[in-house]
Symmetry: C2
Subunit: 788 residues, 2 copies
Amino acid sequence: MPEQSNQMQTPNHDRWQVRETHIDPAQQFRNETLFAIGNGYIGLRGTHEEGGLSGPSIEGSYLNGFYESEQIHYPETAYGLAKQNQFMLNVPNGKGIACWIDDEQVSFSTGEIRDYERVLDFRTGVLSRRFTWISPRGRAITVHSKRIVCFEHKHVYALQYNISAINFSGQIKLVSTLDGAVRNIEAGDDPRVGSNQSGAGLELIGSEQNQNRCVLTHRTRNSGFALVSAMDHVLQCDAPAKTVMLSGGQKAAIEYRFPLQQGASATLTKFGAYFSSRDYVESDLKKMAAQELNQAVSLGFDTLCTEQENYLTQFWQHADVEIDGDNALQQGIHFNQFHLLQSVGRDGKTNIAAKGVTGEGYEGHYFWDTEIYIFPFFLYNKPDIARKLLDYRYSSLPKARERARQMSHAKGALYPWRTIAGEECSAYYPAGTAQYHINADIAYSIKQYFEATGDVDFMMRAGTEIVMETARIWMGIGCFAANDPDRFCINEVTGPDEYTALVNNNYYTNIMAQMHLHFSADMAALMLQTDPARFAEVAAQIGLDNDEPQQWRRAAQHMLLPYDEKLGIHPQDDSFLSKKIWDFASTPAENYPLLLHYHPLVIYRHQVCKQADVVLALLLQGDRFSLEEKRRDFDYYEKVTTHDSSLSSCIFSIIASEIGYHDKAYNYFMETARLDLDDTHGNTCYGVHTAAMAGTWMSVAYGFAGMRTYQSKLSFTPRLPEKWRHYQFRVHIQGQLLQVRITETDTEYKLVEGTGLTLNHGAQLVTLTNACPRVCVAMSGQKDDHAI
Amino acid sequence: MPEQSNQMQTPNHDRWQVRETHIDPAQQFRNETLFAIGNGYIGLRGTHEEGGLSGPSIEGSYLNGFYESEQIHYPETAYGLAKQNQFMLNVPNGKGIACWIDDEQVSFSTGEIRDYERVLDFRTGVLSRRFTWISPRGRAITVHSKRIVCFEHKHVYALQYNISAINFSGQIKLVSTLDGAVRNIEAGDDPRVGSNQSGAGLELIGSEQNQNRCVLTHRTRNSGFALVSAMDHVLQCDAPAKTVMLSGGQKAAIEYRFPLQQGASATLTKFGAYFSSRDYVESDLKKMAAQELNQAVSLGFDTLCTEQENYLTQFWQHADVEIDGDNALQQGIHFNQFHLLQSVGRDGKTNIAAKGVTGEGYEGHYFWDTEIYIFPFFLYNKPDIARKLLDYRYSSLPKARERARQMSHAKGALYPWRTIAGEECSAYYPAGTAQYHINADIAYSIKQYFEATGDVDFMMRAGTEIVMETARIWMGIGCFAANDPDRFCINEVTGPDEYTALVNNNYYTNIMAQMHLHFSADMAALMLQTDPARFAEVAAQIGLDNDEPQQWRRAAQHMLLPYDEKLGIHPQDDSFLSKKIWDFASTPAENYPLLLHYHPLVIYRHQVCKQADVVLALLLQGDRFSLEEKRRDFDYYEKVTTHDSSLSSCIFSIIASEIGYHDKAYNYFMETARLDLDDTHGNTCYGVHTAAMAGTWMSVAYGFAGMRTYQSKLSFTPRLPEKWRHYQFRVHIQGQLLQVRITETDTEYKLVEGTGLTLNHGAQLVTLTNACPRVCVAMSGQKDDHAI
């Protein structure tokens, strides 16, 4: 496996912050990602107000779900391939503030920087910087800037830029810009970055300036959206300022000129807003932006910061994972949780992209990452957001139906492998559209949601319809084997492991489809029973035949789930075990990830996995396997897995925990926990890895604490990793809030909110009530035993 | 299956001609292909001197092997995918001659055409036209034109344009053009047409005119070739002509003005030549073109025509397949043979494209079609050309080695699935690079060649080296199954059937690889024995280990060749028989070919074949199967085969003959025999189907006459199709020429050239000697029995 040493230089591993203490050109690109801020809608990369150093950089301002589209050109085309790509578009950059002392411009490339510090604080949600710049002529100015993207105001961000004249008096010029001349990065040879080659940006259709405010109106060239980007300003300084409106081409700017006396300071506060016709009627956009800016200006920057902190306080009260014993790790976990919150769409029309709103990797697309990796974090920490993620899928159900027709399925709905607005955007179907398991993944998250929340309303309104429509696809692509009518087979699919493609009876796909088919029949029965009118309505709408649920059960009962007697393991697919095992011994470290060094045919021909596949099934369908089976599968697949996907380590960590491989569990966990902070995959510059971030939470809750919810029953089998003194996390379940605290001596279960809860600690039943909200169970053994 | 009625309107099914008696706009595009002429290097589509009607058309002048290249852009790329496409480029069009009577231009869109006739004659090799044009003002002129591409002069073509003034006297203007402003067609959604989107044509770098001669020099933009296109003229008319040189932009032209009296006629003869730096040093090209034109002018058009006819007379003496009883069929067979001769490269540096030099379908690429479909025709009719086709492969062996390295094979050579100059040009690897059987196909043709000619020199010089280098790839991609070390498996390949992709143990691939590995070991042994010095040289060059031949044998001996006991058939691959059978009953006729109406995943998921796969193995490895096995395989695969590929019907015809399905054999044969003449696949407009054309010959020789060469032994089991009175063909073998004539009463074997030959007629041994060069064997039954 490749070794990288891109470790984030954080001598002080603050548990609640990331901190940068000098400007390092080599880390600029990566740190733009790490210091990105967002609110699930707006995302601003951590570039500097003054502009950065030369070298790789993406200015990066994004709106979740706001996309451009472009035709996909295939050098050799085929019927039904995805026709249009959608990609998250760079929107006008409102971060820019240039500062001049007379004719000298504050810059990282001239003069000298002293006492530089940049901090992103997870509890305040503020990105702040402080540095002193010594100009070439020796004038010293201290800059203190702050930046937030408001959690409480979806469309608003704000910057504060404070300067102090240290050793001079002079004329200051502050130029605040809103720059529409932004482009997405050009994709190179790395398929993980993106494919859009056109690079065409937004088209300017209007520009207005008035007093301290600038408004730019743009239109996307192909997807047809209008976008209003606006900024407003408040300047505080001792002397009266002269304001000049500048504009030219794509750029709007306001220039403030004022004198600054030695020892004095001045502050420019900039409020920004974005509104697009993806969300609202085009003619309202400017008015709405004006209203938001009026409100923001009237609240003021400090109030916005207070709101921000309050929002986060509440978030951390529910979501904080506390780890005592490893500050670097604690920092990593908080960082991950914070970025998840920053990345997730919560309006029911957007989702969470593979890179959140922090970079252009994977083009802002949503994948199964949401349902299988990220959903549990929100489900158990902020279930309202989890519901919104499902609402997003429901909103695109019509497009999934349309895609199913393109794929020649007369019935049902097929969700896209990667998308923004619901259309399939995967331009390489063997590792895209062929991953039919996306349908089961979505059904699985609905099942999880229903079990954890009991939200029948959602199931009646949306959930059951999604589940039934998606289940039907298994009947379309599956079949009772032509040469063995007792086996229900699912052929020609790709499972989670993208180093094996277009196989028959991928184990993960089949066992998840089996769950899906059963669940769909269960939900049909439940709906028929609890709300027959709604059932009749949905059945009529989707043309459900009476006997379909019965067929789903029959297919599920006969589902082929092979087992290799000789090896005692579950084959990843029909042919996996007959393939040659990859020659790991002869593969040099620099040849990882394999996908960048070997033709797909070479990879597909071998037993080699990019990521957890059967091992993921061991987690998601864990009550279907004995511990011994899990151990044998883990042992087998670990040997052939490269973890070239960031989705892999957390799953291996969890199963390693379960089967008692505690050292391995901890090591895999550590790979996940600081994946972006330490840039272990070398591509954090293109955005954070949201799935791996959420995997951290799963590794703690599902892994070390052994949390499971089989048959809707909550259970834990906690262990304390050797290096830790204690850890603690909270779980929202059935409308109640449970705190689990594992120390060296015992596990404490505490009902923080709610009326009563029953759970299992191993085999032991634990009942929490208002009368007795706290139960401590002694640990069976002290810390990990490392004999295994 | 789709029914089409694009039957060529040839009321008189002349056995040696195709004839067009009126201009039909609906057939213009197709007929440009049918009336295309060529000599294996130059190809000129059958467009008119005067320009055609509006509507689809490709002017089309091509040079076999002369290509432009362009980067292949993948919307989602991967390591090792083919990087550069090569495509046959439209070269300057020298066919144009415009004729004016005063200010009226002879045209198919104005005035009136009478007595139109166009004939392509397979025995003279001349395309001739005759028509009378009545101008809008009522002046009648008769045009008689002829066109040849010289078989005896690779670089030369010639046109003769004769006009007669019927009812007027007037001033004539003839403008002969050489037009470099030509573009390749834009590819649409049909992957069979082509992919080049750039449409960039040649770049003009020089233009010279002198007396009756014009020379244009062009350069390709990416592949870097220089091309000289030249033309010269001879005008015969009663009055002195005024000559004007015209030129502008990409076009060179010469204008001849002269008076023509009523009843008189004039003739303009145009000689054209192409020379490119793919073949010769750039600085010599113009001189060479001048020399060729000088020679052509001095020989004169009539002499060129005589040479042409002599060449063809000799060709038909060796190659003619004579069928008595069905003129339409006889025409079809002659047409096919003639076009094969026109299409095949014979310089050892070029090959035969899927569409010959008649159109831009498949971009002028060479495929396995050459070795498996076309090679036998040349091997048994013009073995010198067959050797040239193998020389071509030898010339690109270094590139095949390079490709093998890109595909991570440390040893050996992997031929490209589609190419012009030797580089892999397939932009869709599941139905391209994955077709590893190309290596075995090439080895098979070398084996066939060696067995039929005994040409040891070729084997020592080139054949054995190709065979060994290509055999090594099986050791690279094959393996002894990880879970069964007695089975040698070949995983993750695509067989001939492109409706099933990326499978394990494709039957065709495995049995061909087995043959290949054995043959390679045999040839290594032969070379070591007969020419140890050369063996040492080759072994050193390719780094052959001593034990490699032994490993080849071992792999071949353990090759997995599965058999399904229950069905008594050979499964197409490991998983084929478990898949759902395609629902043919519910598939409307307009949904064929399936590839234009279903996503690849939908097709791959089903038991459905585009073309012969196992059935092709029944032919190529026919001595490995019993007749009963063949019948069961045929019965099974016929039901699931759409014949959407033009490579299919001929193979089904041959096996149907062998197993006694005579009606089917005849019907499949008829689909092949007039595939282009009747445009049964609806895409003849983009070029003829050279593989299917050669399949016609195989259907007669291998099918009806049952010719086989197992273990180098020639045998026949002839039958006479019911509709025929007799048929006859000739076979070159071991330097001798055999004529086989099957009548209602007997089969006559006649040694036309050579000293003696032994063959089998069924079980009966037939010996032909100079003393007794002719043996008649009575037919066992009268004609076909149609009971089956």
